[in-house]
Point group: C2
Chain length 185, copies 2
């Protein structure tokens, strides 16, 4: 939650929208500065490099998504994460920003790579915690995470908008299978 100057915030906001919608390499720093209504000089004064700006974009986005999820999940049950996902994907039509970023920078030593890993690990831990709180085994949280990632991919790249609903149905079956045989794993 780094504090930025006003021009810095405008740059980060413009970069976030552009990176998500068009991809990282497809967006140049000139376009970011122009969209933000400021200059490239200010961009480099604030962020140092495009790579650092990319890392910050992903950090902010992770925080935003996590806030969105925790807010919408208040008072809801485990499998309803897929309802929240469907809600999220209705606006975010380019899929998972972290998977997309990994597609462009994966395998390099880009500063954003640990941010990507951390976001996936956060989501995994969140679902495992939720399962545990419901008296269900950890492996069920992990399974739900796989369904969650699969649903995100299929809803976007796969062109199957009902994927989150399908994943929810699968998750419900997995949960009830656990309930009827709780110590079988």
């Amino acid at each position: 939650m780094t504090t930025l100057t006003p021009a810095g915030e405008k740059l980060l906001a413009a970069a976030s929208t552009l990176f998500y919608r068009r991809g990282i390499r497809a967006v140049g720093v000139d376009l970011i500065a122009e969209t933000a209504g400021t200059t490239k000089k200010t961009l480099y004064d604030r962020f140092g490099s495009k790579d650092a700006l990319v890392a910050l974009y992903l950090e902010r986005r992770a925080a935003y998504w996590q806030g969105f999820l925790l807010d919408r999940m208040a008072g809801r049950t485990l499998v309803e994460v897929f309802d929240v996902l469907a809600l999220w994907l209705a606006d975010q039509d380019r899929g998972c920003a972290f998977v997309n970023a990994y597609a462009e920078i994966g395998g390099t030593d880009h500063p954003a790579e640990p941010v990507i890993r951390a976001e996936k690990e956060w989501m995994r831990a969140y679902l495992v915690d939720l399962a545990r709180a419901a008296g269900l085994p950890d492996r069920l949280g992990i399974e739900l995470h796989l369904l969650y990632e699969g649903a995100t991919v299929m809803a976007t790249a796969g062109g199957v908008p009902e994927a989150p609903a399908l994943a929810k149905a699968a998750a419900e079956r997995a949960v009830s299978a656990c309930g009827s045989a709780p110590t079988s794993g």
Copy 2:
């Protein structure tokens, strides 16, 4: 299975490796031509544009993966697709080429977009057919597809190499839950 000239094949082979390892936008046509030991002129004579080359790269890769899968699945059972996936990912360490390509070109009118959709649909249909042949409901095949996509993401962007094995365990539970209550859906 378009027939290409020898130089065309060399170009497509070089492009395939480079696109997969580094991403599409990160690789220029000059580098492709140089890596193939030929010239940019020949590239444009054979393929017309970089976009067309990208589409052909994905078509060939889909055919290669499908051949690999069908070959390794001979005589195996439904859930063993995850073993084949683990085998595949041992070599292909940059994840799903189609998800990665969608991250870079999704939302545009790029000629490769239908190729991406078709590959996801093929895999979905394959798993549904396999489920059906085993006397299991279609929805189980769809569920396994979600687990498959989730496992691919987590094994690469998520940095969890055991993801296919976790997905296989989840798939086995889903299958046995079906067996014990076959007409509950």
